[in-house]
């Protein structure tokens, strides 16, 4: 923290100071330092290519502390650049952050469009910031309000940090985006400020304040922010006070690391965006920078310049890192934060992921600009590799000596950053021609992050595995994994996962023994999904990322199952990976409970594998959520408004904007997410940690996500204009279930269905059998049948099984008199029968008839349903019975009615049951009018079906006596006058009764008219 503070104090000086500071800080946390180094290296390498020496130098300085020895020369050059450029670069970074945020939020952003969306969103979020401190304050306050202040802080940090990340994303998109630059510049400043605030809060409140001041000084233009910073710090401090602060801080630190990395990566992007700034900074390569902004080909050159600034920022990162990263990682934060709370390891993962993402994006960018860059990467990479190695040792030493005492937080942050950096390197390696060389660093970085995490958790344990420790194969593996990632999020997620894997491997000592080359790649979790799932699982974003890779194709490809050539190819592989990953995840789970979060990814992965679209959906869903959150947010409302307006402006810039808005992370959204994740944590608590976090929750989340995505999809189509809703391939959206569970509770879908929670037909068949033979009560059966019906519906299965299910449900509903449910089934059955699917057509025709007779009291309906009966149907016993019942009802022939009642086939009696009361009342009023002087109750009981005996065998007295008592009770309840005759037999005094009969209110009547809505009943239902 101290280092950070110093950096803040002198903006220009910051770079230098940071270098020194970072060194110091790095030292404490060896891990962190390493990360930093890695990152810096990776970044530098990339950038260096363009800028060559100077940039590299700057990087070194940043990452620096660790690498210094190796890259010392570079660092010097960069230093100067950095200093000058920093402000501008920062601004750029901010912009980039914004973009990255957007991308991260969008998830779906596989294509450039998402990125754009991110931009837009970002602008929204950023706008509030830039516009005024008030918005920010509100935001912060909102955070504070949240139970976990620490969380809120991270969020803020994320936002800031987001900037760096965004650059990466911007990089990918850079070619397409010329305009965004302006954005970035405006946003940057705010972003930085925020980060500073966030940082301070997270790690060291006091220090933070100082930091803020420093930052502000630098960015005088952003006065509001300065105000803001204090506020945030205050809030943060509160958060720190919390017991959880420690963990969080650690997390934050990690985040910060990420951010640093991201910043580095972002820097290029930022440069691109803020061409002007870049050019000034990059005095060496001004022309390049300018070109960058304009076009991809130019971009490479610009890269170098941007990088330098970035590197400066990255140095700052230690101080700034959190800030820069935050923006991009808001989503991350949300994900990460929740996870953090629950599980320490999980937080780390998110960070990791982020780092990966950044790298990835970067790689993409490079790819785009391949021709220009290749040389650079080579140079850079070697640097990076070396750096890590060197770094580690230093870091370790540092840790032992200084750190712990000063502040765990700082240390942590550094490690995190470092971890991010290493991750970034791998990506770079990939991209670059010199993969092998690069890969090593990447590898190291990955392993280090894990170790750092552990360290963080343990504080004391600094034991860091040296870069050299990791086998080459592992490095390659990491590279492979990283290449998977298309965007920052993915790469971040990927990093996270890899961290886990590697830490796990190191833990059980298999890291050297494992055949990493043969190791299946995991699927990259979808960060958005993770958000949704809250803490539980970072969802794989990989699919998205793939889509995203091709910048030009963008939005369209998104929704298409196989958007683009590349994406298609990759998809297949991704799917495979995903599957494997999921399996891996399982293993991990077994090993570590805390990682449970990741495992949700499984289901997600599965889904993704089968339905690449689903991922998209999830992304969109997140967007929706965000929207929701926005609505909900009270304090932030103003901010939102600003944001939206800004976004509107931006819309013009980007055609894709519409989607983007939704996706964009606004501060409120982040808060909400955090809250949500917290909520989950609270509720599930240990459960989440344990391997079995509820499948249900995951499922529902996924389902929700899907549906929302579907909605969003359609919406986006509309917005797009280029795509009509009809163009959506709904068939491809049809779910094919994979769930093998026979029993499944019904949950009304609020989103697209999740294949992993949907049962395929065979399973449904067994489920139906299970229900049919179940001894449990109706509520259970109804629940089960509804879930079966739902699964059938979402899979669009319409065959004999469907009919059977509906018939079964209709019957069981009839048995208990659940008419609403029965009517649902009946109407479905009508359609199914009309489609020519066999079933108990006649039986249900009879039911239908009875239903109309008894309950609709509509002659036209009755006539039409009678006239629709075929001759064949009229010969059916059940239908004939129903018709006879109808005749009895219309004529009021109670004797016939109760006779038919006793001989009713199928469940006709159940329907008649519902009319019995009315019929009896009518009968008794008729009797009391017609009979004189008396009617024996025994006769009434017999005629009105109270006794089970038929009129011909009245001999069975025992049964009759029961029926008699019932009848007496019923008559009394209805106001009949009963008298005993000379023989002691009960008689109905018809004359007296004729005026006293009444229909009692049903006992189960409730004020709202529907007894099934009664509280008690509801409770019994839910408890099942």
């Amino acid at each position: 923290m101290l280092t950070e503070s110093t950096n803040q104090d002198d903006d220009e000086m910051m770079n230098q100071a940071t270098n020194t500071q970072t060194l110091a800080s790095v030292e404490p946390n060896s891990v962190e330092n390493r990360y930093v180094i890695n990152v810096s290296q990776g970044q530098t390498s990339l950038y260096v290519a363009s800028t060559t020496g100077s940039e590299a130098a700057s990087w070194n300085t940043y990452g620096v502390d660790n690498h210094f020895a190796e890259n010392a020369s570079f660092s010097n050059s960069t230093y100067h650049h950095v200093k000058h450029s920093e402000p501008s670069s920062r601004a750029v970074q901010d912009g980039s952050n914004a973009t990255s945020l957007a991308t991260s939020s969008t998830l779906g952003a596989t294509d450039t469009q998402p990125d754009y969306g991110g931009y837009a969103s970002y602008s929204n979020s950023s706008d509030p910031y830039s516009h005024g401190s008030t918005g920010y304050q509100g935001y912060y306050s909102g955070y504070q309000q949240q139970p976990n202040p620490s969380y809120s802080q991270p969020v803020g940090a994320y936002q800031n940090t987001g900037a760096p990340y965004q650059p990466i994303s911007s990089f990918q998109n850079t070619g397409s985006y010329a305009g965004p630059t302006s954005y970035s510049s405006t946003y940057y400043n705010p972003g930085d400020y925020q980060t500073a605030g966030g940082y301070a809060s997270s790690s060291y409140t006091h220090q933070t304040t100082t930091w803020n001041g420093g930052n502000y000084a630098n960015y005088t233009t952003h006065h509001p922010y300065s105000n803001y910073a204090p506020d945030t710090s205050g809030t943060y401090s509160a958060g720190n006070a919390g017991a959880n602060s420690m963990h969080y801080q650690q997390h934050y630190k990690q985040w910060a690391e990420y951010y640093n990395q991201t910043e580095v990566s972002c820097a290029p992007g930022t440069e691109n965006l803020s061409v002007s700034s870049a050019s000034t900074q990059v005095s060496q390569l001004p022309g390049v920078s300018g070109g960058y902004s304009t076009s991809n080909s130019q971009a490479p050159t610009t890269f170098a310049t941007p990088w330098r600034p970035e590197s400066s920022s990255s140095q700052t990162p230690l101080s700034q890192p959190g800030a820069t990263v935050t923006g991009a990682y808001d989503s991350y934060w949300t994900n990460g934060a929740p996870t953090f709370q629950n599980q320490h390891p999980s937080p780390v993962q998110p960070l990791f992921v982020k780092a990966l993402d950044t790298k990835y994006s970067y790689s993409n960018f490079q790819e785009q600009q391949n021709t220009a860059c290749p040389q650079i990467p080579n140079l850079q990479y070697p640097m990076a590799q070396q750096a890590p190695q060197n770094y580690q040792p230093t870091a370790q030493t540092v840790q032992s000596s200084e750190t712990q005492r000063l502040s765990k937080l700082q240390i942590q942050t550094n490690p995190r950053i470092a971890s991010n950096l290493p991750l970034g390197l791998p990506k770079l390696d990939r991209e670059g021609p010199n993969n092998g060389v690069i890969s090593k660093p990447a590898y190291i970085s990955v392993s280090q992050p894990k170790s750092s995490e552990k360290v963080l958790s343990n504080d004391a344990t600094d034991s860091v595995i040296k870069a050299g420790v990791f086998p080459k194969s592992l490095k390659n593996y990491v590279q492979r994994a990283l290449t998977q990632c298309k965007d920052e999020k993915q790469s971040a997620a990927c990093q996270e996962i890899m961290k886990e894997i590697i830490t796990k491997a190191t833990n059980d000592g298999t890291i050297h023994t494992r055949d990493w080359d043969a190791e299946p790649l995991f699927q990259i979790p979808n960060t958005d999904m993770a958000d949704k799932n809250s803490s539980q699982n970072p969802t794989p974003v990989s699919l998205f990322s793939k889509y995203k890779k091709s910048p030009t194709k963008r939005s369209k490809s998104r929704w298409e199952p196989l958007p683009e050539e590349k994406s298609v190819d990759k998809l297949g592989s991704l799917n495979n990976y995903a599957g494997k990953y999921s399996s891996k995840v399982h293993l991990d789970e077994k090993d570590r409970k805390p990682t449970g979060v990741n495992y949700e990814g499984k289901s997600d992965v599965m889904k993704k594998i089968r339905f690449p679209q689903m991922e998209l959906k999830s992304a969109s869903r997140t967007v929706q959520r965000q929207v929701k959150r926005q609505r909900l947010a009270d304090a932030t409302a103003a901010d939102n408004g600003d944001a939206s307006s800004d976004s509107d402006k931006e819309q013009n810039l980007t055609a894709y904007y519409s989607g983007a808005i939704m996706l964009a992370d606004t501060p409120e959204e982040r808060k909400r997410r955090e809250n949500r994740s917290k909520r989950f944590e609270k509720v599930q608590g240990n459960r989440a940690e344990s391997n079995h976090f509820k499948a249900k929750n995951a499922g529902t989340g996924n389902l929700y996500a899907r549906r929302t995505t579907a909605l969003v999809l359609s919406k986006s189509f509309e917005d797009d204009g280029s795509r009509a809703v009809e163009d959506i391939d709904w068939d491809s959206l049809t779910v094919k279930g994979t769930c093998q569970e026979i029993e499944k509770r019904y949950l009304r879908l609020t989103s697209a269905p999740d294949p992993s929670t949907v049962r395929p037909e065979e399973v449904l068949e067994r489920a139906l059998l299970m229900v049919q033979h179940s001894q449990k009560n109706y509520l259970y059966k109804c629940d089960q049948l509804k879930s079966i019906r739902q699964d059938l519906t979402v899979q669009r299965i319409r065959n004999h099984l469907t009919v059977k299910v509906y018939e079964t449900h209709a019957r069981s509903a009839l048995e208990v008199g659940d008419l609403p449910e029965y009517n649902q089934c009946q109407s479905q059955l009508k359609i199914l029968y009309a489609e020519g699917i066999d079933g108990c057509h006649m039986e249900f025709a009879a039911y239908n008839l009875l239903c109309v007779i008894m309950h609709s009291n509509n002659n036209r309906d009755l006539l039409s349903s009678m006239s629709r009966l075929s001759d064949e149907a009229k010969k059916d016993q059940a239908v004939q019975h129903a018709l006879a019942v109808r005749a009895a009802v219309t004529s009021g022939n109670y004797v016939l009615f109760f006779r038919l009642y006793k001989t009713a086939p199928n469940l006709n009696a159940c329907l008649m049951d519902l009319y019995v009361e009315k019929m009896r009342y009518k009968a008794v009023s008729c009797m009391s009018r017609s009979y004189r002087p008396q009617v024996p109750v025994s006769y009434i009981a017999q005629v009105l079906g109270f006794s089970s005996s038929t009129p011909t065998n009245e001999g069975s007295d025992e049964k009759d006596s029961d029926g008699l008592e019932d009848c007496v009770e019923w008559l009394k309840a209805h106001g009949a006058c009963l008298v005993a005759d000379s023989n002691g037999e009960m008689q109905l005094d018809s004359k007296a009764s004729s005026s006293s009969l009444f229909m009692p209110d049903p006992e189960d009547a409730v004020a709202h008219g529907d007894a099934s809505l009664a509280v008690n009943d509801f409770l019994t239902r839910t408890s099942l």
């Binding site: 006539l863 004529s891 009021g892 022939n893 004797v895 008729c926 009979y931 008396q934």
Partner: protein, 413 residues
């Protein structure tokens, strides 16, 4: 078919345009209406259609002169509709006709006087008929028939145009009747309610002011609605109104009215002459009437079974079924008379066994309980005056008027 020459086609189309323009300018509604009456299949109209199909570029002719081009929005779709109609493409014809009709009512709105009402009637009629035919075409192609529904909403719009204070309001009932036809055909009878309400309650409408034929049609349909509701007195009133005001030469219309009026009258205890049934070919009611006269339950049931489909479709099945109680009443009455002949002093005590035996002769196999139930229902519904003594299983009839006649009142329910 021999196509006319180009000049001939040109001449025919121009004639048609001239006719239209003249009819509008002279407010000659008769000739105007003729121009729209597709379903009349009049030779001049068909020849114009042929000419249009041959000439193809009729729009140029419309634009040629200011006289025609001011009605371009009316005439262009009208020509298109006519062309499609002639070539048998009824769906297209409907679409174009609806466009034409919309343009026409737009113009109609601007005309102060109601001179063009007859033409509007023709349009309302044609659009309904065209929609029905288009629906048939759609259904045969496996598509969902929805044109009639569309025609319904168009006519509602027309109703809105007419339902005002001006002289055009007398046309509202015609449109209402076309709407009834559509709604009854579609089975969306509930939609009638809003139109009925505005006809019967709006101050601007004086029912007697409407043309007689519309009033008859209106009463017929609203009477049918009352039959559905089993509101027999109201149904009787409306259908009787329709019957008495109906043009006596329109036997088909009279038959349609009687088809509903007879069951209504029967349920009020009023039986028709057999000659009436014969005259209007309503012999399906003959056995029902006979059963009522004789108290022959078996005959009634047979009659119902025989014409079940018919009765169900027309919606009088349930009404006729309810006549059963009257048949029982008649049967009991007959038994009473026979008993009275044998032993007047005990005539008012009807043993249940006797009734059961009588029913057995009618091949109605019912046991004591069931018959007892029916007797109590008869007493309850006031078809029989008296009481039932359960102990002795005897129906004790009132000595005064034991079998009250309905005399136009519905059976108690």
């Amino acid at each position: 078919m021999a196509y006319p020459s180009m000049g001939e086609a040109h001449r025919r189309i121009t004639d048609y345009l001239n006719n239209f323009s003249d009819a509008v300018s002279y407010q000659d509604v008769a000739s105007l209406a003729q121009l729209f009456s597709f379903s009349s299949n009049s030779p001049p109209l068909l020849s114009v259609a042929d000419a249009l199909n041959f000439f193809q570029d009729a729009n140029r002719l419309i634009k040629q002169s200011e006289k025609f081009s001011q009605y371009g929005e009316i005439l262009a779709p009208l020509f298109r509709s006519l062309q499609s109609y002639r070539t048998g493409n009824l769906v297209d014809a409907y679409h174009a006709f609806e466009k034409f009709a919309n343009a026409f009512i737009q113009e109609f709105r601007n005309w102060e006087s109601a001179w063009a009402l007859e033409a509007l009637y023709v349009i309302a009629y044609e659009i309904r008929v065209l929609a029905e035919r288009a629906d048939r075409e759609l259904a045969s192609n496996g598509k969902s028939p929805e044109k009639l529904k569309g025609a319904g909403s168009f006519l509602m719009k027309v109703f809105g145009v007419l339902a005002g204070k001006g002289p055009k309001r007398v046309g509202a009932l015609y449109v209402t009747c076309q709407l009834f036809k559509i709604y009854f055909k579609l089975g969306t009878v509930h939609l009638c309610r809003s139109v009925i309400r505005s006809i019967e309650t709006a101050r601007i409408f004086d029912f007697e002011e409407f043309p007689r034929r519309d009033k008859v049609t209106y009463m017929y349909y609203t009477g049918r609605l009352e039959v559905f509701n089993e509101n027999f007195p109201a149904a009787d009133h409306k259908l009787s109104y329709a019957l008495t005001h109906c043009n006596p030469l329109r036997e088909a219309n009279i038959r349609m009215i009687l088809k509903y009026l007879i069951p209504v009258k029967l349920s009020l205890g009023i039986l028709p002459e057999t000659s009436l049934l014969e005259k209007y070919n309503l012999l399906e009611y003959n056995n029902v009437v006979q059963a009522l006269k004789r108290g022959d339950l078996r005959l009634l049931r047979h009659a119902l079974q025989e014409h079940e489909d018919q009765f169900l479709r027309s919606g009088v099945y349930l009404v006729l079924e309810k006549l059963e109680l009257q048949v029982y009443q008649r049967l009991v009455k007959k038994i009473y008379f026979i008993q009275k002949q044998k032993d007047p002093s005990k005539a008012h005590q009807l043993k249940l066994e006797v009734i059961v035996k009588a029913l057995k002769w009618l091949e109605m196999d019912m046991d004591l309980d069931e018959v007892e139930c029916i007797m109590t229902i008869l007493i309850y519904k006031n078809l029989v005056k008296g009481y039932f003594a359960h102990k002795s299983k005897v129906v004790v009839l009132s000595k005064q008027d034991p079998f009250p006649k309905l005399n136009g009142k519905p059976v108690n329910s």
